[in-house]
């Protein structure tokens, strides 16, 4: 796991925010993008510079970007007008939507789809074929607020009728571990520390080639909308549209190389609030919304 120094992040954040501390609620002559770091913040800063300079040329207004410490800081920046646009997962988006009325603009595309799934993985030699087989067994999930690494895979146990709801999970399994990420959950399963893992459909790619051939999955969730580009509700409609138009250009062959500066999706598609109905229901089921 790449190391992320919290102190370092704070420094980056304060440095970044210091430049953009003036209120800009009504401004339509520039655009501010808030990025939430996923890994190396040093790299992110370089990426931001590359993409914002291109967006500035495309949109015709200065585009600035800065790094926030986490989702809360990004949403706060959207709320008070320090940021116009941000990038986040579907769950944080529906929470931000409720909190500040955030608007979804674009959905990331990976492997030809603006969505992905969560799966329940087991070792091939375990003999587990159904979710019911995991009664009394230990399972590792990624994180309690991970869509594909907890909520959606656990919902499959509910759909299979082996638990009545999330609160029954503790009784059904032997132990539930939140391992801290897909990789940790998958490794714990592959190494035999637990019997199953709930993680993204792509999480087995985090294992070694040998381990990949030794694991399989026994349940797959419904589609989860992938990461979303969101805007503050007051953002000028024309500026918002110009931003969307510019971002959609990234799907064109001549601009695809710039996608790597934006968390590296394969492209973007336009999205709307209805896409997230399932996420809202899921968030309600887990008491998050």
């Amino acid at each position: 796991m790449p190391h992320m120094n919290r102190r370092h992040l704070l420094m980056l954040t304060s440095a970044g925010l210091a430049t953009f501390s003036m209120p800009v609620l009504a401004q339509s002559d520039r655009l501010r993008l808030a990025f939430i770091p996923q890994e190396n913040p040093e790299k992110l800063l370089g990426d931001i510079e590359a993409i914002t300079s291109w967006l500035s040329e495309e949109i015709g207004v200065p585009v600035e970007g800065f790094v926030t410490i986490d989702h809360a800081a990004a949403v706060e920046a959207l709320r008070n007008g320090d940021a116009d646009i941000s990038f986040m997962g579907a769950l944080p988006f529906v929470l931000a939507e409720k909190e500040i009325g955030a608007v979804p603009l674009l959905s990331e595309v990976y492997r030809d789809a603006p969505s992905y799934t969560g799966r329940v993985f087991v070792r091939r030699d375990s003999g587990f074929k159904t979710l019911a087989d995991l009664e009394g067994r230990d399972i590792a999930f990624a994180d309690p607020i991970s869509e594909s690494g907890y909520m959606y895979p656990l919902a499959e146990f509910e759909r299979a009728g082996v638990i009545a709801g999330p609160k029954d999970a503790e009784d059904f399994f032997g132990r539930i571990f939140f391992a801290g990420g897909y990789q940790q959950a998958m490794q714990a399963m592959a190494e035999g520390l637990v019997d199953a893992a709930g993680a993204s459909q792509y999480a087995d790619l985090l294992l070694t080639p040998l381990q990949q051939s030794q694991v399989t999955w026994i349940a797959e969730s419904e589609a989860i909308p992938s990461h979303v580009v969101i805007a503050r509700p007051e953002l000028d409609a024309s500026l918002r549209q110009r931003f969307v138009n510019a971002m959609m250009k990234l799907n064109m062959p001549e601009h695809r190389d710039k996608l790597r500066y934006l968390y590296g999706p394969d492209g973007y598609v336009a999205t709307d609030p209805s896409v997230y109905d399932g996420v809202r229901k899921m968030a309600q089921r887990y008491g998050l919304l």
Binding site: Q38, E99, Y110, G181, Q187, G192, V194, P209, S213
Partner: protein
């Protein structure tokens, strides 16, 4: 917050270590990528690796701690990071390195890592919030990684107990939730209990004043080491190593293929192709790590990214007679060489940088047995390898005729440069460049010459003579000279101009460079891929072609050579499945790999009927999934 993006997953970098791919079963030629190392954990693993070389390269040990490892995500080395992030005194390590005291370095470095784990665990336990606790625990776990694979090999029960303790620790740390929702409180008692398990083990095994001296430096727990019980440790490469394929992937030009002949109709060549990609023919760490001929000479070209600390002085270079691959063959000279291209191999003998082997067969045997510690290859295997390698052709170049003359498409500057290339120079004994790099003979003369590019090993030695290399395809084989000392063809021209007093003007040097860049060019140097024609599709075609030799070997009941094939191809097919773009077809590829493994198992059991049956199933399955195999 867990990130759902596949890109993030890929960027996390496939986590498991190269070692983990090699622990059990046949070796894999598809290495696993490593997650980035923390600087101090990287320095420790490099210390173990370099400390096991003979002689110990002390300058590199010092660098391992003072500089970021090659490819590190961190801009600082271990000492600088410790200075910034830790209160631990590092003087024990620095003083031991200064004294070049191997055991003292080992003890101090081992204690340092254990103390760092303790330091981060302390931070995790006193952290006031889940995010800070998890940050510190993640750091502690990454430091523990420096010991983990050796604990697993030496003390599997403890490895499991510790693995569960790390899980418990993370689980008990709670979660901050997202945007105020879904927070999970810390369970301090559970955290303390899990931490105690880890710390007790560290105290007993790593925070020891005088670790048992070890012939081979390793992270085997002290309680196991002092019993003297041998531990079968997995071969590993240290942080900074890179044995991945080139990107972009060079185009392979095989003579038979260009003539439209199918490799499956050439079983000897197809078997040689398989051996070229097989780590099974090597021994020692090369075999375990999945290093094959193709690791360095992939697609008959050079692997410019190949790098192993202590064995490579720069990417694309390796010391094949050093301490790592085969201690028996260690010449105790730090003399890595730039990996040569094998294109046009049948025209480029004698072989070896100094032309020490007249025969490609002898050269190949030396690579297998001496350089990479393999068993004596059978005559059939050597025949097959040679048959395959002599199919390597040069890259077609429409600017050059077969006898080395420029065609009409060559630029004017190259034509001017051609004249300089053919002009005798007093500084070169009235010889021209073309005297050795004969245009009509593939730009080489099959002789060795001392041009003054080699630092002599002793006064009066005549060891500076090197085999004249071809100039064909050289645009894609930088850097140049036996040790890769010169980065560009222009710098090669400058070197000759300077050292041989050629007196070339700037324009003349530019023209001569243009000539080299023209004769060294190619029409299509690289493979081109798209959404369906993927690297996996290429690998799938290769691996199924290799397997086709079973049509010849099974009727002959040739168990020895069948098993080399099945062990190689079944493992590689399964490993390569992880690189597929069409992920949904992966289970079918795993099944296919198992079919081939079943052939091997049946042959081992001398059940030829079952072997034939599995082979038939393999062929049917392979044909059925071919369209989806990308």
């Amino acid at each position: 917050m867990e990130l759902p993006l596949i890109q993030h997953i890929l960027r996390l970098i496939l986590s498991a270590t190269i070692a983990a791919t090699a622990v059990a079963g046949p070796s894999l030629a598809t290495p696993a990528k490593e997650a980035p190392w923390l600087p101090e954990a990287a320095a420790y693993r490099l210390t173990l690796f370099l400390g096991n070389l003979a002689p110990v390269p002390w300058d590199k040990v010092e660098q391992a701690w003072s500089e970021p490892y090659r490819g590190s995500e961190f801009s600082v080395g271990a000492f600088d990071r410790l200075d910034r992030e830790s209160f631990i005194d590092v003087s024990g390590v620095t003083e031991a390195i200064e004294k070049q005291d191997r055991q003292a370095v080992y003890t101090a470095a081992t204690r340092l890592i254990a103390l760092r784990i303790e330091e981060e665990l302390d931070a995790a336990l006193i952290a006031g919030d889940p995010a800070s606790a998890q940050q510190a625990m993640a750091e502690a776990k990454e430091l523990y990684r420096a010991f983990a694979d050796h604990i697993k090999a030496a003390d599997p029960a403890a490895a499991r107990t510790l693995g569960r303790a790390w899980l418990e620790l993370n689980n008990a740390a709670g979660s901050t939730g997202v945007l105020g929702a879904g927070a999970k409180p810390q369970d301090s008692d559970a955290m303390t209990a899990a931490r105690t398990v880890i710390s007790s083990y560290l105290t007993q095994n790593y925070l020891v004043d005088n670790l048992t001296p070890r012939q081979t430096l390793n992270a085997v727990p002290e309680t196991i080491a002092k019993t003297g019980r041998p531990v079968d440790l997995p071969a590993t490469l240290p942080p900074g190593s890179d044995i991945f394929d080139q990107d972009p992937l060079p185009r392979l030009v095989l003579n038979f293929e260009e003539q439209g002949i199918d490799e499956t109709d050439l079983p000897l060549i197809a078997y040689g192709d398989m051996l070229f990609d097989s780590a099974e023919i090597f021994g020692g760490p090369a075999r375990e790590l999945g290093i094959a001929c193709s690791t360095c000479h992939n697609r008959s070209d050079i692997n410019q990214r190949f790098f192993i600390p202590g064995a490579s002085h720069q990417p694309g270079a390796v010391d094949v007679d050093g301490a790592f691959f085969n201690p028996m063959f260690n010449d105790r000279r730090d003399d890595p060489i730039d990996i040569p291209s094998l294109r046009g191999l049948r025209f480029t003998g004698p072989y070896g940088r100094d032309g020490r082997f007249a025969s490609l067969r002898d050269f190949s045997r030396n690579v297998i047995v001496n350089e990479f510690a393999g068993d004596e290859p059978s005559p059939f295997m050597l025949d097959a390898l040679v048959a395959y390698m002599t199919e390597f052709d040069f890259l077609p170049n429409s600017m050059l005729t077969g006898d080395g003359q420029l065609t009409e498409t060559a630029p004017d500057a190259a034509r001017r440069g051609e004249k300089i290339f053919n002009r005798p120079f007093a500084g070169m004994g009235n010889q021209s460049c073309a005297s050795c790099h004969t245009p009509s003979g593939n730009f080489l003369d099959r002789k060795s010459h001392d041009i003054g590019s080699v630092a002599l090993g002793y006064v009066g030695s005549r060891t500076g003579a090197l085999d004249t290399p071809t100039l064909l395809g050289t645009v894609y084989t930088a850097p140049y000279f036996h040790d890769g000392a010169l980065p560009t063809l222009a710098s090669v021209v400058d070197w000759f101009d300077d050292t041989k007093n050629l007196g070339l003007t700037e324009a003349a040097r530019s023209d001569l460079t243009a000539y080299l860049e023209t004769i060294g060019a190619a029409d299509e140097p690289y493979e081109s891929f798209d959404a369906v024609n993927t690297p996996f599709r290429l690998a799938f075609a290769e691996l199924t072609t290799f397997a086709s030799t079973l049509d010849t070997l099974l009727p002959k009941r040739d168990a020895e050579h069948i098993l080399v094939l099945t062990d190689t191809v079944a493992a590689d097919l399964a490993a390569d499945a992880g690189t597929m773009a069409n992920l949904s077809a992966r289970p079918e590829v795993y099944t296919l790999a198992n079919r081939l493994a079943d052939v091997g198992s049946a042959v081992r059991a001398e059940d030829w009927e079952a072997a034939e049956a599995s082979w038939s199933l393999f062929k049917a399955d392979a044909a059925a999934i071919q369209e989806r195999a990308f």
